[in-house]
C-alpha cells in the first residue's frame, strides 16, 4: 500500500499543484510554510527539493518534518540557485507579499523550467462589492489584514497577472480558479476574474 493512512489530506490547492508536478522532479518551494507540499511530493512522487522560508515557526516545522529548508528572504531574489537548476518553482500565496512580484517571477523562471503560482484575486466580486459599498480596503477570510499591517503589498486581479505574463512573453500552461475553500465550480470557470477567489497558474517562458 502506498498511502500513509495517518497522513492528513493535502490542502486542496496543494492537491491541484501536486497533480501538475511530474514524478521525480526537482522542486523549489518559495515561502514553503510548514513544508506540507514538499513533504507530500517527497513521499508520494519521489521529488527532491528545497523550501525557502523566513518565518521562524514555519522553518522549525520544516526541520521537524525533515524537509530541506533554507532561511531566505524572497525579496533578495533566488541567488542560491543557478539558471535552470530545478524543474518547477512553486510559490503559494506569496506573490502579493513580495516587494517586486515582476522581478521574482523573472527569478522563478530563471531558476525553474516552470513556475506554479497561487495568489488571491483582488477582482473577486465580494472584494469589489466591499470596496464599493463600504469605501474601505476589503477584508475577508482570504485577506484578513488591515490596510496598514497587511503583508499583501501588491494585490492584483487575474487580469493584471495575465497582463504581466503577456508583457513578459510567458506562456500560461494551466490555470485553475477556486473559491476560498479551494473548490472549483462551473460558474467560476465562466467568470473567473469576478467569481474566483484564488488563482493557481502554471507558467513557462
Amino acid at each position: 500500500m502506498n498511502m500513509n493512512t495517518t497522513e492528513s489530506p493535502l490542502r486542496s490547492d496543494l492537491e491541484i499543484i501536486q497533480s501538475w508536478v511530474p514524478e521525480g522532479s526537482q522542486i523549489l518551494d518559495l515561502g514553503c510554510g510548514e513544508g506540507e507540499l514538499l513533504a507530500y511530493l517527497k513521499s508520494h512522487k519521489q521529488c527532491q527539493g528545497y523550501g525557502l522560508e523566513i518565518h521562524p515557526d514555519s522553518l522549525l516545522s520544516c526541520v521537524a518534518k525533515g524537509i530541506n529548508v533554507i532561511e531566505h528572504d524572497l525579496d533578495n531574489g533566488l541567488r542560491h540557485f543557478k539558471d535552470g537548476s530545478v524543474d518547477t518553482v512553486v510559490m503559494t500565496q506569496a506573490l502579493q507579499a513580495v516587494r517586486r512580484p515582476d522581478l521574482l517571477l523573472d527569478e522563478m523562471l530563471r531558476v525553474g523550467k516552470e513556475a506554479i503560482i497561487t495568489f488571491p484575486n483582488f477582482g473577486y466580486w465580494r472584494t469589489r462589492f466591499y470596496l464599493m459599498s463600504k469605501g474601505k480596503m476589503p477584508m475577508s477570510k482570504t485577506l484578513p489584514y488591515n490596510w496598514y499591517d497587511t503583508p499583501n503589498i501588491h494585490m492584483c486581479t487575474f487580469r493584471d497577472f495575465e497582463k504581466l505574463c503577456q508583457d513578459k512573453g510567458l506562456s500560461i500552461l494551466d490555470r485553475t480558479v477556486v473559491d476560498s475553500n479551494h473548490q472549483q465550480r462551473l460558474a467560476i470557470k465562466l467568470w473567473p476574474n469576478l467569481l474566483g477567489e484564488i488563482a493557481i497558474y502554471r507558467v513557462t517562458r
Binding site: 521562524p56 522553518l59 526541520v63 521537524a64 525533515g66 530541506n68 529548508v69 533554507i70 532561511e71 541567488r79
Partner: protein, 382 residues
Amino acid sequence: MPKDIPSDSVGIVTPQLAQFNEPLTLRSGKVLNNYELVYETYGTLNAEKSNAVLICHALSGHHHAAGFHSEEDKKPGWWDSCIGPGKVIDTNVFFVVCLNNLGGCHGSTGPTSINPDTGEAWGGEFPMVRVRDWVESQARLADYLGIETFAAVIGGSLGGMQALRWSIQYPDRLKYCAVIASAPKLSAQNIAFNEVARSAIMKDPEFHDGFYLKHNTLPKSGLMQARMLAHLTYLSDDGMGEKFGRELQTEEIQYDFKPEFQVESYLHYQGEKFSTTFDANTYLLMTKALDYFDPAQYYENDLAKCLSHAQCKFFVVSFTSDWRFSPERSEEIVDALVEADKDVTYACIESEKGHDAFLIPIPRYIQLFRAYMQRVARELAL
C-alpha cells in the same frame, strides 16, 4: 551523583588517552611517528555502533565538552549547554565523542609534549597541522573506538570546518554534518586578524622562537594581546554595548592609562586568564590551520564541485551579528551544497552575541538544533 550537579548533566567525566603508533604523514609532508589523543565520551555506544557523534572543537577548545571533572569543578565543559541527557545532543540517544586536536595543549600530542628525537618539548618545532590532518587523526580515533560511521559530525567555527572537511574526506563515515558559525575558508580580513595575533606572540621577548619552556618562561604578554584582539572579534558592537556600555570601574575618570572602562578590564581579565592556561605555540598552530583551510582550492576553487563528494546531509547555522564568520560565509556553503544537490537545512539566527553565539543557548537556535538532532535520531532509527 553530587547534589549540586544538575540532572541534565553528563555528571563527572574522566578524560581518556589513546596512543597511536602508526605514523601519521601530515599535509606538510612532516611525519608524526606516534602521538596521543585525549578524549572524552558521553552516553553509550549502541550494539550497532550507529549512534556515535563527533564534536569538533574550535580554536581554543578541547576534549572537555560536557560534564565536570570533579565535584569541586566550578564550570562544566565548554558545550555543556548542548550536550547531556535530554539536551540538544541527547546523551540518552547518542554516544558523544570529543577530543583535543593534535597540536593542542590540553593533553593531546602538541608543542608542550616531548619530542622523542630530542627528549625535550617540541616547542617551536612541532609540525604544522591542517584541518585535514585533524580529520585523519579523528578517523583513527574512531577506528580505535570501533566506530565505523558517525551518526553526525558537529562543530562550530573552526570545528565547523573540521565537520565540513569530514564530509569530503570520509564521505562514507558520517550520515549528518552540522556546520555552525563557520566558513568555507578565511577572508583576507580573517587572516589579517590572525597575523596580528601571531605577531603579538612572536614579538614577545619571552617567545624565544617557540622554545620558551626551555627558558623557563612564557610569552604571556604576547598571548594576552593575541587573545584580547581575538576576543573582540568574537563579540559584536551591540553585544559589547549592551554588556559594558561606557561604564567605568571607578566613580570618575582617573586621567591615567590603567584599565578604566569596564570593557577594558574585561578584556584584560580574559587575556590574562588565557595567557596562563593556553600554550602560545598551540595558538600559533591553530590560527595557521584556520588560515590554510580552503578545501575548494583543490577543486578549481569550486566549492560545489568539492562538496559534490559528500554523501551526508547538512545542517548549517549562522548568527546575524557574527562578523568573524558572517551569515554570508555560511550561505556560501549552503549555495554550494544546493548546487551540488545535497540535503541541506539552513537557518540564520537573530542574535547580538557575535561569533560567540554558537556557544550560547539562544532559544531559537536550540529549538532548531534540537529538532534537527531529533530528525537525525528518527531517520537513523536510534
